[in-house]
Symmetry: C2
Subunit: 247 residues, 2 copies
């Protein structure tokens, strides 16, 4: 199956880095706090980070006490940034597609992946490998674009608005048709793989995982007051988190 | 918390019975086959059916070999129909709200509920009681209206259509706002409780269940050819199924 490496596209890389450097973005406001809220104690743990990008999370995990972090990413550009910006003797960066982690021969207490799996065609294969790489009782935490987001294929208006431009509802098309949805995000042809909720749950269950928690992050009242535009997330969450345990 | 008994409304009862008697309906085409596909072997099993209505499923379970079936429903009218149409010495019908099953003192191999939980405010309480009533290794299977359906609150157009009236997409509003959505279905004021996917999953996980499978039923190609109007389900599934195990 295809392995996408859009982050090595020069334009995508530059624009993506700019986006993530903005102080106020959905990642900082919603994705990151949710990810951190799901983490167990990291003290002394061996962690595998799938789709580690420029390594900010790897460094966070070290700062939270992890003994060893392995960061895997398909993009050489992102890993070059990781090695220069988030280097530590306890972190190993590997230039590898997530689909190829079957070749790793270590085991981990914790496998984490932030916003990467919607780029992966062979989700089932990755999940099976994660299960194998985890120790018994090991924890698997990942975020991905929400299924109500990945099903958008760019056709028609995504939102219906009232006469003042306020979003009334989101238009959902073919939620149950699992497929690659190509879209333009900085560059043309960014490929996402849309999977339903039930497929995500069943893929985990079939691999042997017990699901502990799922989160669809929305703004707190406090955040909403500051950034009312994020009310959108109540109509269509951007992210889906899963926390599961091996065994 | 409120316990709804809409099925004892004379108009609702009559119209609902007519709907279910129609040979072609979403229940017969999608809900029932999915429910049956999720059942384990029933031979010799003790089964609790929550929201059993007029008892068709209770009788189905007996015909599939169940040793004993207890059917629980809040509606006296539905149970009167059950007792006259689906009576068997191995079936016991109890006129009881699902919220009150904590008072039962038997244990079961299998708890099943078909299209009832979206009427229940205290979903968490019901799930905890189901867990307690199940034997270790016992199976819990339920269907409910899909979260993309329960979030509809009757405001605005539900569907966007092209110039030929073909449905292009469904309009989803406040999916992440959990709430009671009152609507008119045969009668005014039918109360559904909208819960997100993550709440449904977390309620089960928190009670101690391991989720084995979720299904969002869509038509097969064969069915679609016969009933093209059910393409709707690819945009917005009507039903969500969960199969989980205690332990």
């Amino acid at each position: 199956m295809a392995k996408q490496n859009i982050y090595d596209n020069e334009t995508f890389f530059t624009e993506y880095r700019k986006l993530r450097e903005r102080e106020v973005n959905a990642n900082n406001l919603f994705e990151l706090p949710t990810l951190f809220s799901l983490l167990p104690t990291l003290e002394g743990r061996k962690i595998l980070d799938l789709g580690c990008g420029s390594g900010e999370r790897c460094m966070d995990y070290i700062n939270k006490g992890a003994a060893k972090v392995t960061g895997v990413d398909i993009s050489e550009k992102m890993l070059a940034a990781a090695r220069s910006e988030n280097s530590d003797p306890r972190i190993t960066y590997l230039n590898m597609a997530m689909e190829d982690i079957g070749s790793l021969d270590e085991s981990y207490d914790l496998v984490i992946s932030s916003l990467a799996f919607h780029y992966v065609e062979d989700f089932g294969g990755v999940v099976e490998n994660v299960y194998r790489l985890l120790d018994d009782g090991g924890i698997f935490i990942f975020s991905q674009e929400h299924p109500l987001a990945t099903c958008y294929s760019g056709k028609g208006d995504r939102w219906t608005r009232d006469e003042n431009g306020v979003k009334l509802h989101v238009n959902i098309e073919n939620y149950c048709v699992e497929r690659r949805t190509d879209s333009t995000w900085f560059v043309e042809g960014v490929q996402r793989y849309h999977r339903t909720f039930s497929t995500i749950v069943n893929t985990l269950a079939d691999a042997g995982f017990r699901i502990l928690k799922m989160v669809e992050p929305v703004p707190t009242e406090e955040l909403l007051e500051k950034y009312p535009e994020y009310y959108d997330l109540f109509h269509k969450p951007d992210f889906l988190f899963v926390k599961a345990v091996k065994g």
